[in-house]
C-alpha cells in the first residue's frame, strides 16, 4: 500500500511539475523602434500559489520572454531575450502585500498593497514593456514573441529535470518599419 502511494505521489509530482497549469496571453506592439510586450497569465496559477503567498513566502513570477524568428525545418532562431520578474511578499501581521517588478534584474516598479485583486493583476500581467529593439529586425518578416512563465516556490513532491515551465504563450507579428 505504501509503495503504491509512493508511486502515485511521484507520478503526480512529475505530472504537476511538467504540466501546464495556465495559459499566457501575449500581445506585441512595435512603435518608435521598440517592441512593446504585454502579457497576461490566465487564472489558475495564482490560485495554486495563493497559500504560499499568504504564508509570507516571497513568491516570484518569472516571465522569460524571447523574440524569435521562425525557421523552417529547423529550430527557430532566438534574436533577443528579456526576463520580467514580479515578486510578492505578504506581511501576515499587517495583512499587506509588498510588490516589486524587475526587468533583466533592474527594479522597475515597487509598491505596497492590501488589495488582493491588485496584487493578482500585478503579478500575473504586465503592460507594454519595451523589452526589445527593432534595429536587428528585417522589414516585412514575421517574428514572434514567446513568453514562458516560471513560478517560485515550487510546491511539488519531486523535481523533474526537464521542466517545461508553468505556462507558455506567444504572439506573432510582422515587422513593418
Amino acid at each position: 500500500m505504501t509503495s503504491l502511494r509512493l508511486l502515485a505521489i511521484v507520478l503526480a509530482a512529475v505530472a504537476l511539475d511538467a504540466g501546464t497549469s495556465g495559459e499566457v496571453q501575449v500581445s506585441t506592439l512595435v512603435r518608435d523602434g521598440r517592441v512593446y510586450v504585454s502579457s497576461t497569465l490566465t487564472d489558475g496559477v495564482i490560485e495554486e500559489l495563493d497559500e504560499a503567498i499568504q504564508s509570507g513566502l516571497t513568491t516570484t513570477f518569472t516571465y522569460e520572454t524571447e523574440l524569435r524568428r521562425p525557421v523552417s525545418i529547423w529550430f527557430d532562431r532566438v534574436l533577443a531575450t528579456a526576463t520580467v520578474s514580479a515578486a510578492v511578499q505578504f506581511d501576515t501581521l499587517t495583512g499587506r502585500y509588498q510588490l516589486s517588478r524587475s526587468v533583466d534584474g533592474r527594479i522597475e516598479d515597487s509598491k505596497v498593497s492590501d488589495d488582493k485583486a491588485a496584487v493578482k493583476r500585478f503579478v500575473t500581467a504586465f503592460e507594454r514593456l519595451p523589452l526589445f529593439g527593432t534595429a536587428d529586425l528585417e522589414p516585412n518578416v514575421e517574428y514572434y514573441v514567446r513568453v514562458r512563465v516560471r513560478t517560485r516556490p515550487r510546491v511539488t513532491w519531486f523535481f523533474w529535470p526537464w521542466d517545461r515551465g508553468s505556462a507558455t504563450g506567444f504572439a506573432r507579428f510582422t515587422f513593418i518599419p
Partner: protein, 774 residues
C-alpha cells in the same frame, strides 16, 4: 636441464612473435587500479558525509531553500543514480546473456553471484525505503495537525489585532491632527503654533513622533512634500528615519488612501507610521501629517514572535510536499546508492573471482592449440596469483618438453629421410640387378621380393607376407622351400644349389644361395635367398664344349679322309682297264666312297668353321642396308615365297660385322623357307627401342611353327628338326648375335608360324654404342 632447451626465455626468443614490436601498454581498468578505487571510496564517503550533514542541518535551513536547491539537487542525484543503476543492470544482463549464448565459461556463475548479491541488498534496502517513507508521511502529517493550526492561527490573529489596533490608533491621531491643522498656515516661518498643536499627543505618549509636511506643486504640477516641523519623544531621536517618513508623506500627498507602514528597527522594536493629508476647507491638500508610534513593549515583541512562528508554520505547511520530497529523496538516494554499490560490488566480486579462472581457461585453450608461448599475467598476490604462477610454470615445462620433442622429431625425420634414402637406393639396386633377392623373416614369412626374383620364379606381388613354405612348397619351386626353411647350425656354411625351372617353355637354370640375416652374436632375424640366372653361362659352357668336340672331331676325322679319297681314286684308275662289269662295279664303289668322303669333308669343314669362327669386325653400319642387300639375294629365287619388309622409319647406326649379320639373316630366311616348304610369307621387321638402347630385327613366317619345348633347344649345336642338316645353323646364329652383344629368341607367330627376334645394341646419337660391349 640445458638452458638452451629448457629456458622459457629462449623459447620466447625463438618464437616469431618475439621479433614483433611490443604491444602498446594497455590502460589498467578501473577495477584494478587501487588508487582510483580508494579515491572512489573516499568520494562516496564524502558524499555520504555531506548528505548526513545536510540532513542534520535541514531543520535550520530555509524551507524555500530546501524546496528549491536541496530538492532539485537530490532529484538530480536520484535520477542520475537511477539511470546509472538501470544502465549497470541492463549492461550486466545483456553481457551475461551474450556470454551465456557464446558459451563462455563462468557466465552462469557470474549471473548467479550478481543476482544473489543484488537480491540480498535489494530486499532490505527496499524494505527500509518503504518503512522510512511511511514514517516520513506519518510524521509530516502529524506536524501539520488541526490543533496546531488553530493555536498558531489564533496567536497570529491576536498579534494582528494588536497591530491593527495600534495602526488604527496612529492613523486616527494623524487624521485628527490633520484636521486640526486645516486652518494653519504651513508656509509660515513661525512654526511655534504648529508645534503647540502637534505636541500634546507626544507629550501624552499616545504618539512617539509627529511630523508635518507642506505640499508644494512643481512647475509641471508634480507634488512635492517639504518638512515643516516635527515633535518627537526623547526615545525617538535615536531611531528616527526621515527618509521613511518622507516616502510615506509623498505617497499620502499623491492621493493614496490609508497610508501607513510598519517599519522594523535594527535594534529591536518597530515603528508604526501613518500619514494623513491636511486639507483646506475647499478640499485642497496643503500638507501631510505623519504620526509614528514606537512599539518597544513586551507585548509587541511577543506579537512579533507569534507572527514569525505562524509564518514559519504556514510556510512549512505550504512547502509540505517539497519537504516530504526532500526526505523521501534522501531515503531514495541512500537506497539507490546502496543498490548501485551492491550491484557494482557484485559485478566486481564476480569478475574478480572468475577473471583469473577465465584467463586460465583461455590460456589452457591456447596451449592446447599449440601456442606454448602463451602466459597468464599475474594480477593478484593471493591464491589466484599462486595458481597463475603454477600454471605458467606448467606452461614453461610444456614448452620445454615441446621444444625437445620438436628437436627429437627433426632428428628422427632426418634419420628417417636417410633411412628412406638408403632404402630407396637399396630398392633401386634390387630392382635393377638381374639377381633375384628374396628375404624371409625369422618366422619364415617372405619379407621382400625384388623384380628379378619375381621374373625368374614367376611369383606375384601377393607373396609378400606369406609363409615361404607355402609359396615354394609345390612344383619346381620345392627346392627353394628346402633352402628357405632348413635349419642350419651356427657357423655352418649355408649351401648353394642349382635348380632348373621351366618358364614360358624355356628351361631356366638358377643358382640359389641362402644367407642368414644375423647381427654379430644376435639371434637369427631371417635369411636371404639369392637367385642367379646361370642359363646363359650353362649355354656358353655347352657351346664351348661343343666347339672343343667339333675341333677335335674335325681334326681326327678330316686327316684320314684324304687318303681314303685318294685310295678310292687310285682303285678307280687301276681298274680302268678291267672288264666292263668289273670296272663298272669298281667305279660304283669308288664313286660312293669319294662322294661320302666329300660329304664328310663338307661336314667336317662346317664343324671347323663353327669351331674356328672368327671374331666379328664390327663397324658402324646401316642395318637397313644390310637387310635390303641380303633380301635382294632372294628376288625371283622362289616363286611362291613372299618376303615383306616392315622397317622402322629410322634406325641408329649399329656397330656390327655386316657379313656375319648377313649370314644370320640368310640362315633364318633359309630355315623359314624350308619350314613352309617354299610356299609362304616372310615378314622382316625392324624396331628401335630407345629406352633399352637396342635395335630389334624380327623375322616371322607363317609356317608350321616350333613346339614350345623345342624352342630353347633350337640354338643348341647338332639339334635339328630337319631330316638333313648339321644342326649348327641356329647355334652359329646365336653365337654371332651373342658376340655382337645381343640376344636371339624364338617364339610363336600370330596367327601361326615362328617368330625370331634379334636384339642388337645400337649406337647412340652421339656415336657411342649403347648396351654392354661383347
Amino acid at each position: 636441464m640445458p638452458e638452451t632447451l629448457g629456458s622459457p626465455t629462449s623459447l620466447r626468443l625463438s618464437a616469431p612473435a618475439s621479433a614483433a614490436p611490443p604491444p602498446p601498454r594497455r590502460r589498467r581498468p578501473f577495477r584494478d587500479n587501487p588508487l582510483l578505487l580508494l579515491l572512489g571510496i573516499l568520494a562516496l564517503i564524502g558524499v555520504l558525509s555531506f548528505t548526513m550533514t545536510l540532513a542534520n542541518r535541514s531543520s535550520g535551513l530555509a524551507p524555500d531553500f530546501l524546496s528549491e536547491f536541496v530538492l532539485y539537487s537530490l532529484s538530480v542525484v536520484d535520477l542520475t543514480m537511477l539511470v546509472a543503476l538501470v544502465f549497470v543492470l541492463a549492461r550486466s544482463v545483456i553481457k551475461l546473456l551474450v556470454e551465456r549464448k557464446r558459451g563462455l565459461p563462468f557466465a552462469r556463475f557470474r549471473a548467479k553471484l550478481v543476482t544473489v548479491l543484488l537480491a540480498m541488498t535489494l530486499v532490505p534496502a527496499v524494505l527500509v525505503l518503504l518503512v522510512g517513507s511511511q514514517l516520513i508521511f506519518n510524521s509530516v502529517d502529524r506536524w501539520f495537525n488541526a490543533p496546531m493550526d488553530e493555536i498558531l492561527d489564533s496567536a497570529q490573529r491576536i498579534a494582528s489585532d494588536y497591530y491593527h489596533d495600534r495602526q488604527r490608533q496612529v492613523s486616527g491621531e494623524a487624521s485628527r491632527l490633520a484636521r486640526s491643522l486645516a486652518a494653519a498656515d504651513l508656509a509660515s516661518p513661525d512654526v511655534r503654533l504648529l508645534r503647540d498643536a502637534i505636541a500634546p499627543p507626544v507629550s501624552g505618549q499616545q504618539l512617539t513622533l509627529v511630523e508635518v509636511y507642506r505640499v508644494q506643486r512643481g512647475p509641471e504640477a508634480e507634488t512635492r512634500v517639504v518638512p515643516v516641523v516635527d515633535v518627537a519623544s526623547a526615545s525617538m531621536s535615536a531611531v528616527a528615519n526621515r527618509a521613511s517618513s518622507d516616502r510615506l508623506a509623498t505617497r499620502a500627498a499623491g492621493g493614496q488612501p490609508d497610508v501607513w507602514i510598519r517599519e522594523p528597527l535594527e535594534g529591536g522594536g518597530e515603528l508604526i507610521r501613518a500619514a494623513a493629508v491636511v486639507r483646506k476647507a475647499d478640499g485642497a491638500a496643503v500638507g501631510v501629517v505623519v504620526a509614528t508610534v514606537h512599539l518597544t513593549g513586551e507585548l509587541a515583541l511577543r506579537a512579533r514572535r507569534m507572527t514569525k512562528a505562524y509564518e514559519s508554520y504556514t510556510q512549512l505547511k505550504v512547502l509540505k510536499r517539497p519537504l516530504t520530497g526532500v526526505y523521501l529523496s534522501f531515503f531514495l538516494m541512500v537506497t539507490l546508492m546502496v543498490l548501485v554499490s551492491a550491484t557494482w560490488m557484485g559485478l566486481y566480486l564476480a569478475k574478480r573471482i572468475t577473471r583469473p579462472v577465465q584467463l586460465l581457461a583461455a590460456a589452457a585453450r591456447e596451449i592446447g592449440a599449440g601456442h606454448f608461448e602463451h602466459r597468464v599475467e599475474r594480477e593478484t598476490a593471493d591464491e589466484f596469483g599462486s595458481l597463475v604462477d603454477a600454471f605458467n610454470t606448467m606452461a614453461d615445462e610444456l614448452a620445454t618438453s615441446r621444444l625437445q620433442l620438436d628437436r627429437s622429431t627433426i632428428d628422427l625425420q632426418q634419420k628417417h629421410a636417410e633411412v628412406e634414402e638408403r632404402r630407396r637406393f637399396t630398392e633401386a639396386v634390387l630392382d635393377r640387378v638381374a639377381t633375384g633377392v628374396i628375404t624371409i623373416d625369422a618366422r619364415g614369412r617372405i619379407g621382400t621380393v625384388n623384380p628379378a626374383a619375381v621374373r625368374l620364379l614367376g611369383l606375384g606381388a601377393t607373396v609378400i607376407g606369406q609363409p615361404a613354405s607355402a609359396v615354394f612348397g609345390h612344383g619346381d619351386l620345392l627346392p627353394l622351400s628346402t633352402l628357405a626353411t632348413a635349419t642350419y647350425a651356427p657357423g655352418k656354411e649355408w649351401p648353394a644349389q642349382e635348380i632348373a625351372l621351366v618358364r614360358d617353355g624355356r628351361e631356366v637354370q638358377l643358382a640359389v644361395a641362402a644367407t642368414p640375416l644375423q647381427a654379430d652374436g644376435g639371434p637369427l632375424e631371417g635369411r636371404v635367398l639369392v637367385l642367379d640366372d646361370i642359363t646363359p653361362l650353362i649355354r656358353a659352357q655347352k657351346v664351348a664344349a661343343w666347339r672343343e668336340v667339333a675341333r677335335r672331331l674335325a681334326h681326327e676325322i678330316k686327316n684320314p679322309l684324304t687318303p681314303i679319297q685318294l685310295s678310292a681314286q687310285r682303285l678307280q684308275r687301276q681298274f680302268a682297264a678291267a672288264p666292263d662289269h668289273v670296272r663298272a662295279f669298281v667305279d660304283e664303289c669308288t664313286g660312293t666312297i669319294v662322294g661320302e668322303v666329300d660329304s664328310l669333308k663338307a661336314l667336317v669343314d662346317e664343324f671347323s668353321q663353327f669351331a674356328r669362327m672368327p671374331a666379328p669386325r664390327r663397324v658402324p653400319t646401316d642395318l637397313h642396308d644390310v637387310l635390303l642387300g641380303t633380301l635382294a639375294l632372294y628376288d625371283g629365287l622362289f616363286q611362291s615365297v613372299k618376303i615383306e619388309t616392315l622397317f622402322a622409319v629410322s634406325l641408329p647406326r649399329v656397330r656390327l660385322d655386316p657379313d656375319q649379320i648377313r649370314r644370320v639373316v640368310i640362315n633364318l630366311l633359309d630355315n623359314a623357307i624350308e619350314a613352309f616348304n617354299q610356299r609362304g610369307q616372310i615378314v622382316v621387321e625392324t624396331h628401335h627401342d630407345a629406352g633399352s638402347g637396342v635395335v630389334r630385327i624380327v623375322i616371322a613366317d607363317d609356317g608350321p611353327g616350333i613346339a614350345a619345348e623345342e624352342r630353347d633347344k633350337l640354338f643348341m649345336p647338332y639339334f635339328s628338326t630337319k631330316k638333313r642338316g648339321s644342326g649348327l645353323g641356329l647355334a652359329i646364329v646365336r653365337r654371332i648375335v651373342a658376340e655382337h652383344g645381343g640376344t636371339v629368341e624364338a617364339g610363336p607367330n600370330e596367327p601361326r608360324g615362328s617368330r625370331f627376334t634379334i636384339e642388337l645394341p645400337c649406337e647412340s646419337r652421339e656415336g657411342g654404342t649403347e648396351g654392354t660391349a661383347p
